[in-house]
Symmetry: C2
Subunit: 337 residues, 2 copies
């Protein structure tokens, strides 16, 4: 494997000059530049980034740590991150924590060892051990999607507002018994979505039945189980609000299993839209989050933090959600139950 010395020798210059050509830093005459480039070509020289990073203390690499790479929402975010990063000459290491703090801690440690220049992190829980570790080492960090009890740059969507809109929509259709199929109760986005629901209900003067507010996990299985649970109540809800896309899928299946028609028997709304390429027929009323935008913005913010290590105070970017009304949320049907 040729090194910068081999290139230098072949081109008849000093290693430092080769380095200058490689990094377009400092002045190099057009003539020597050409010679160096020719030597690089001839030897099929590939610079060693480990050595470069060790010396320059910059890897031009950022990391994106998400909670579920299987969810199209996160892969869309990843695309936004990647596009913005590569435009700025940064590469992205993508890691998946499966909503587990242990895996998160493991990856943060590993990425710190790999000397990434910055972190884009979706915190698995409210535990801030990893976040503190990152900040102690003065590595720039932008928290994505979920609030944490620490002052830190954040980019997220307006979960509370989206939930409020969805609930208002259902209330407007005449629904009063609206169940919330929540995510993990210690995840802020899940909490915020319940809060938005509460605000809409309170404003409308509709009493809240705590039996109708559940919270388990952001999975299809949980959506299925929670739906079965609320369907089993004495006074069954007339509408369901699933706080993410996977939960909504579970709800659809449970409603089907129970032989119920949507929206005829029960209305259903969800958070997060699914990409067109994945759905047979868009049919679910949702509060859609600008996933790509979120990734792009976060990536740009992180890179600006890395570049101008100005100590401006932590910022909080909140992107609006969009209410998309489709067939799954029909008006309340009066029944003689």
């Amino acid at each position: 494997m040729p090194t910068i010395y081999d290139v230098a020798k072949l081109a008849g210059v000093a290693p430092a000059t080769v380095s200058r050509v490689l990094n377009a830093s400092g002045y190099v005459s057009e003539e020597t530049r050409r010679r160096v480039l020719a030597a690089i070509d001839a030897l099929e020289y590939v610079p060693n980034r480990l050595a470069r990073g060790l010396r320059s203390k910059q890897t031009h690499t950022i990391s994106l740590v998400v909670t579920d790479i299987t969810n199209p929402f996160w892969t869309t975010v990843a695309r936004g991150v990647e596009d913005a990063a590569s435009k700025a000459g940064f590469s992205v290491i993508l890691c998946n924590t499966d909503e587990s703090v242990e895996k998160q801690a493991h990856y943060v440690e590993l990425l710190l060892q790999k000397q990434v220049d910055g972190f884009l992190l979706v915190p698995a829980t409210q535990d801030v051990t990893s976040i503190s570790l990152i900040r102690e080492r003065d590595v720039p960090l932008v928290v994505l999607d979920r609030e944490v009890p620490v002052a830190v740059d954040t980019v997220r969507c307006d979960s509370e507002g989206g939930a409020y809109d969805l609930t208002r929509h259902l209330l407007g259709l005449g629904h009063r018994r609206i169940a919330v199929l929540g995510g993990s109760e210690d995840v802020p986005t899940a909490q915020a979505r319940v809060a938005g629901y509460r605000r809409a209900m309170d404003e409308a003067g509709v009493p809240i039945d705590s039996e109708l507010i559940l919270g388990q996990a952001f999975t299809q299985e949980a959506g299925h189980a929670m739906t079965q649970m609320v369907l089993g109540l004495d006074q069954r809800p007339t509408a369901l609000f699933a706080v993410n896309n996977f939960i909504a899928m579970g709800a659809v299946r449970a409603l089907r299993d129970a032989g119920l028609d949507v929206p005829g028997d029960v209305a259903l709304v969800g958070f997060d839209d699914l990409p067109e390429a994945l759905v047979m027929e868009p049919w679910l009323t949702v509060a859609a989050q600008p996933a790509y935008e979120m990734g792009r913005k976060a990536s740009e913010l992180l890179i600006s933090r890395i570049s101008n290590s100005s100590d401006s105070p932590p910022s909080e970017t909140v992107l609006p959600t969009t209410l998309i009304v489709r067939q799954s949320s029909g008006p309340l049907r009066v029944r003689s139950q």
Copy 2:
């Protein structure tokens, strides 16, 4: 940022000893081991992997280069890769080429610079420039999913067989005019799926109408366009075979737009199943590929190549697909057209 020297000083030992503790190499007395560990803890020491990799020429990192991170098929593969890798103490860098050779070349170059220990690559095209580059540098490589015109370790699914099964299934239902909605024509899996179709048709003695064999791209848009095209033919097909999941989604939408019932008016089958969490109601007849398994096997193979640099000849692993019959493929309906 503390280094191994700081740890050594605090523990009252030499840097080499700290290194031995860190890497569990060589003999260290229990007593000094404890002291070193305590010092590491006290300083919150984080080893620098760049330095380690530079010295040891091993990064314990492999790369996975896929063509579309947005497709659940690939994220499922990625999970298999990741699980097997982390079990063996390797981390994974995931990159997305968008089916572009340029992006692929870019990432391969970058990963080579980052000194990854091995490559898991889904080739964007039949162009072998990147593959040659990897092999010249003696970096282990396993090609995923798609055959290439080079002798190299390969792990893929039986595309030909899966397509054969699907076509036989349609023939068995009485269909004779079966259209193929293909992917990029220069991608081997797309070709193999057409080949499986041809074999089944030939065996059944059904003449093949080349008008019914299309090939564009693995996207929903392409599926939509190709479906519209075949529906516009004088003699419209009675069944469609979509060679991947996104194309199938496009077909579903085009059929709906045309006011056609599936399977009443047109039968539809596809390649690749979608995860349960993403589909409202499983309904499409498919040849399902064992995505997770594929990732796991490939990862294990690559890591074994890295570890025992034995020069055993390139292997080819072909995993079977599973035919899952659902509602989208009904029997041919006799019509007075």
